[in-house]
Subunit: 189 residues, 2 copies
DNA sequence: AAGCACATGTAACAGGTTACATGATTTC
DNA sequence: GAAATCATGTAACCTGTTACATGTGCTT
């Protein structure tokens, strides 16, 4: 069974930290958590509407400035229950982590040899940019703090996710570097 | 821009190795390439129909046994062109690699401390099972061959994708192991 | 003859992206 | 006053999953 309604639980999880508007939720998906899940504002507003009718969240209005309305959302007790049971569920299998670059490399034989290095170099550039961004984030939030044992539970979730993202990118870059060498040597043979 | 019609190109790529039926394509997604892209048979048959009307592939019938029809598909010259230009395209950004376990960990503060180790252990079990499967595959295809420089171009694609999948799982397992220790120590403080 | 793998298809629904549409507030 | 950001929403379309539906061929 595929994992269903992940966006629902991502939103409930964000709201369990603090009340937010649809716009705030959209912004969160551009930060740390966006490394592992994201959605566009159009989808988020629809999901919020659905969560309201399901009584998992409730809404109130805040005014910014003179008349700009921010629709703020809060978890209901049902929403808290929904979130908690989702967080405690055991996964029975890992889903395919889709990766278009790896897919393309599988079809390597149809790529002219001279085109391959620039494909790798482009990917390396993108991955290095992402890694630099993640390292910046790490420095901002955990720069001085070199012992995660001192973090509170909320910070710890952020820490684990950031270190996961960093490890993932470093591992990707290592594989790209090694593979590029192999392909170059293979081509010279 | 999100990457569009990836399934189309995955199918064209598979057909560039040899003619296949919809069933064969479905089977391929259960092997190495399924680590990076997959689809259900229902979606594959629809996509094949679409590719036929677009003249990217053509169809012929093979009979197995007495009357079981296998609809075989071949790349047309248009299909080969489509595939080639997709393989040479530069990606302008890396997409979010969705990962539900990491998402759940971000919401760690809402998980009771005593439940956390079993969540990690479940994930470790799943990841270790996957790694064992991948290592088996590696042994089957590249067991004796310890020098990828001797591989031909078709085998090289397979090699790179398999080593990528193995590296990904090893990296995941390392992070899980380290993180579980951190969470345990953090909880004792 | 039972069970499993081979083989193809459709329908309903769920999830996600792009484009369209509008207006307020802040910053320079 | 222009531009960027804040803020919310809908419509059309594309992608992907689950369930339904049917039949053949091989192995034991």
């Amino acid at each position: 069974m595929a994992q269903r309604r992940v966006l629902k639980y991502a939103i409930l999880g964000l709201l369990s930290k603090q009340d937010m508007s649809g716009y705030d939720i959209t912004s969160e998906f551009k930060k740390a958590i966006g490394q592992f899940w994201s959605a566009k504002h159009s989808q988020i507003y629809l999901e919020l509407k659905k969560l309201l009718t399901e009584d998992s969240i409730s809404q109130y209005i805040e005014i910014s400035g003179v008349k700009l309305e921010r629709k703020m959302y809060t978890l209901t007790s049902k929403g808290k229950e929904d979130l908690k049971s989702w967080l405690l569920a055991f996964e029975d299998h890992v889903q395919t982590e889709k990766d278009v670059f790896a897919l393309r490399l599988y079809f390597l034989k149809d790529i002219p040899l001279e085109e391959i290095p620039s494909l790798f170099e482009n990917q390396l550039r993108l991955r290095n940019e992402k890694l630099a961004f993640l390292n910046d984030q790490y420095a901002v939030y955990f720069g001085e703090e070199n012992n995660p044992i001192d973090l509170n539970k909320e910070e710890l979730g952020h820490f684990l996710v950031l270190t996961k993202a960093i490890a993932r990118e470093e591992n990707y870059i290592d594989w790209l570097t090694t593979s590029l060498e192999i392909v170059k040597q293979n081509g010279r043979k």
